[in-house]
């Protein structure tokens, strides 16, 4: 106790806190970095090379060793070692400089793609992570799931065909559904369709699309098209996109007999003493939250009006099917209505 001095104690304390912060801060903490790096072994490099080759071959592009080194963010030696090992295990065949997947290489790549897309589906349906985080998390998880775990995951999710971006999930026998649709940029004015796919690459454009609140499964109607921009209406809102963004959104065109509700509004704009009819719930709400709202009676055709305002403005209580249910503003804004 002789050396005790409040200032020394405080200095030691703050030094320790800063150290703990550097070690354990989310994502960039040294502890996590070291742990992730020690995990970045051959397996992950090999699987990433396989995935890269698979996606490029699907697009009819063939890569050489230099392309692979340039595209992947590992150090060159690791990648070369990986490629050697892959060719030893007959996952790839190397002719001259060109690298091609063998049959067993394709099978392996499909397994990784399946794990990745299933995990994205899982994140979308069963967790509260934000849409922009799914891809990165699945990039890590795909290397950890074994074949058996992947199959269990698939059956728990009800063997889904498509991941939340609309990409097909390969089955355990390697079967892949086809995306049938047209990019929004190629549709003509007046077309009605359902969004079936949003490309998650390049990331910058994907994040912009997310920021616009455009979601898989929503109905859209094209209202204007010029070389510089495309305007469409969806779920009661107007969207204006540059052609490059519109090209990354695929839509399956619907037959003429589909009813497209034009003057939709959101429950959040309903005022006191107004009544409205519920048209549906935006596709943005999925999983448990969606089922919960359905359970409470927010279904097509139900009458709704405001029951109680809040002293702080949010949440508001809505009278639906004789019961007063409070919803927050951000939820009410996902429920589509038609005012009476």
């Amino acid at each position: 106790m002789n050396t005790y001095n409040p200032i020394t104690a405080l200095v030691v304390f703050f030094a320790l806190s800063i150290l703990a912060y550097l070690l354990f801060r989310p994502n960039k903490g040294w502890f996590w970095l070291i742990r992730n790096n020690s995990g970045s072994n051959d397996k992950i490099v090999i699987e990433d090379v396989l995935k890269l080759l698979y996606h490029n071959e699907n697009a009819d592009k063939h890569l050489n060793i230099n392309d692979i080194i340039r595209t992947l963010k590992y150090n060159d030696r690791l990648i070369l070692e990986g490629i050697n090992k892959m060719s030893d295990h007959k996952l790839i065949s190397i002719q001259g400089d060109n690298v091609k997947l063998t049959k067993s290489g394709i099978d392996y790549a499909l397994r990784i793609v399946r794990a990745h897309r299933l995990w994205e589906k899982f994140l979308a349906e069963k967790t509260g992570f934000k849409e922009a985080e799914w891809h990165e998390r699945a990039e890590r998880k795909e290397h950890e799931l074994s074949k058996v775990e992947t199959d269990i995951l698939a059956s728990k999710l009800g063997n889904p065909q498509f991941d939340p971006h609309g990409d097909p999930i390969p089955t355990n026998t390697g079967k892949i559904a086809k995306i049938k649709g047209t990019p929004v940029s190629e549709l003509s004015v007046g077309t009605i369709g359902r969004i079936v796919h949003i490309k998650d690459k390049p990331e910058i454009i994907y994040k912009q699309i997310l920021a616009e609140n455009i979601h898989i499964g929503s109905l859209i109607r094209i209202v204007e098209k010029t070389p510089a921009r495309i305007e469409f209406h969806s779920e009661g809102e107007a969207f204006i996109l540059a052609p490059i963004m519109a090209g990354n959104i695929t839509v399956s065109v619907l037959e003429k007999d589909v009813v497209y509700e034009e003057d939709l509004a959101r429950l959040s704009i309903l005022k006191e003493n107004e009544t409205a009819q519920i048209i549906g719930i935006s596709k943005e709400i999925r999983g448990d939250s969606r089922r919960r709202l359905l359970d409470l009676g927010f279904v097509r055709g139900a009458e709704v009006k405001i029951d109680l305002m809040n002293p702080l403005g949010d949440p508001k209580a809505f009278l639906i099917k004789g019961t007063s249910i409070a919803l927050r503003q951000n939820q009410a804004s996902k429920i589509l209505i038609k005012k009476d």
Binding site: M1, Y4, P6, I7, A9, L10, F13, P26, L123, K126, T127, G128, F129, G158, N159, P160, Q161, F162, A177, G217, G280, G287, D288, S289, R290, R292, L293, L294, L296, G297, V299, R300, G301, A302, D307, L308, M309, N310, P311, L312, G313, D314, P315, A317, K321, G322, T323, S324, I325, A326, L327, R328, Q331
Partner: protein, 472 residues
């Protein structure tokens, strides 16, 4: 042949499923919901209940109004707490008179006539019996008042409106409005507050409510706060104002607890709980007259007795441990003295002392026995006169005498302030920890909920102590 047919059927069904697509399930479910709603609309006719609805709406307009909503809420909470704390004094005094002052000496006398060896008599009567009797005397009356009052308010339909009014504040910290209720329930008992989190059906918000419930100052801690504030904080000002100042200090600690509750909720929802599913909705049931006797009965059975029973189960071994560490000797000092000595340095850093830390370790089962344990241990290590012997917890009727013992143990105003802070920010009692485990079924969240508050407590008391000493 047969297996081949079956295989064909399976592969056909798989193909068909692929053709239908993922959307089909959702659309079918939503279609069924909508059809059911149509059928109900056509066939079910409701009586016109306009009269009843008007009264409900009138009450709602006042309770959720900008002017009256919040004052009314605080008034009711203050009233419930006041009735609990003041009202519990009388039955508590009666119970402790009976269990501690009458039955305890009687048991001692009985043991003496039986010729029971001193260690068995000490272990069973001074250790186990005393801890259990103490917990019952201090815990039962406030819970028996608080829970029925709370349940009546719930039954009447008022509490969901409170959650409705406050939801926006809780949303800012990533929590659910109903946490206002579980938090208030925590003022009665954290274990009961945690059981009450069942009303929150969103997994993420429920975990937040469970982990932060400990920041509500529970019944077991109110008396400690009031006693210490009266002795040390109240003494700072002339006698006429001392009551008000010590009351303000206690309320300040309780409000600080709410501040920590919001901060920790926010931190949790942004970090470790980011991936948990979050769904919000709140049903506002119609008002109805509470079923008085039924409510009293169920709240006594479901809440009070279950919590009390768990507390007794945990208090008995704690009493044994308290008696044992004071009576088992290594060399020439008792285990308790060794522990106190080795924790004194750390305690000093936190502006506390070894006695307080040891008392908090052995009194994990119930916050109610912290002060008696501190008094007993202080007498034990300082060797001043008073108390009832090694390992026998006691409390003094006179606040001044209690203060004299604590000051003899080296307590200053800093010790008192930090004890009040540490009493707010330390691990939940073992009953609560066990309840957290039962509710979450997860070792991980139980550990987080138990360790997190005590780490915060260490940091806060440490910082207060250093700044205090620097500015003194």
């Amino acid at each position: 042949m047969d297996t081949k047919k079956i295989d064909n059927i399976i592969s056909l069904s798989n193909d068909l499923r692929w053709q239908i697509g993922d959307e089909f399930h959702d659309n079918l479910a939503e279609g069924i919901y909508a059809d059911a709603a149509e059928i109900v609309k056509d066939s079910v006719h409701k009586k016109d209940e306009k009269g009843a609805i008007r009264i409900d709406a009138k009450i709602d307009k006042i309770i959720t109004s900008k002017v009256w909503g919040f004052p009314l809420m605080f008034l009711i909470l203050a009233l419930v707490l006041w009735m609990t704390i003041v009202g519990a004094n009388y039955p508590s005094a009666m119970l402790s008179g009976l269990l501690l002052d009458t039955v305890h000496p009687a048991l001692k006398g009985f043991a003496a006539t039986m010729g029971m060896p001193w260690w068995l008599d000490g272990f069973l009567i001074n250790g186990v019996y005393l801890a259990v009797a103490w917990v019952i005397a201090v815990m039962l009356p406030p819970m028996a008042i608080f829970f029925p009052l709370f349940t009546l308010l719930e039954d009447f339909g008022y509490l969901p409106r409170v959650a409705f009014n406050l939801d926006h504040l809780f949303k800012l910290s990533g929590a659910h409005g109903k946490q206002a209720l579980t938090m208030s329930m925590g003022f009665g008992c954290n274990a009961a507050g945690i059981v009450a989190t069942r009303i929150i059906d969103s997994p993420r918000e429920r975990l937040i409510a469970i982990i932060t419930n400990n920041f509500s100052l529970c019944n077991g801690r109110w008396p400690t706060q009031i006693l210490i504030a009266t002795i040390f904080v109240g003494a700072l000002v002339p006698a006429t104002y001392s009551g008000i100042l010590s009351l303000a200090a206690v309320i300040g600690v309780a409000v600080l607890g709410m501040v920590f509750m919001f901060l920790v909720s926010w931190g949790l929802s942004k970090t470790v709980l980011k991936g948990e599913v979050s769904t919000f909705n709140l049903e506002l049931p119609p008002y109805r007259p509470p079923r008085f006797w039924k409510t009293i009965y169920t709240s006594l059975i479901d809440r009070t007795l279950i919590v009390l029973w768990r507390a007794i189960v945990f208090a008995a071994p704690a009493g044994a441990v308290i008696w044992l560490i004071s009576n088992i000797y290594f060399g020439d000092s008792s285990v308790a003295a060794w522990l106190i000595d080795s924790l004194d340095g750390f305690g000093f850093l936190l502006g506390l002392n070894g006695v307080i830390l040891v008392a908090y370790i052995v009194a994990i089962p119930a916050n109610e026995i912290v002060i008696p344990t501190i008094l007993m241990l202080t007498v034990l290590v300082t060797g001043i006169s008073g108390g009832a012997g090694a390992g026998v917890m006691f409390e003094l009727d006179s606040v001044t005498a209690t203060g004299d013992i604590l000051r003899a143990g080296g307590w200053t105003l800093l010790t008192a302030v930090n004890l009040m802070l540490f009493s707010l920010l330390h691990n939940p009692c073992s009953t609560t920890i066990y309840t957290i485990y039962k509710e979450t079924k997860s070792v991980k969240w139980t550990v987080v909920a138990s360790i997190l508050p005590v780490i915060i407590g260490f940091v806060v008391t440490f910082l207060v102590a250093q700044i205090w000493r620097l500015s003194a």
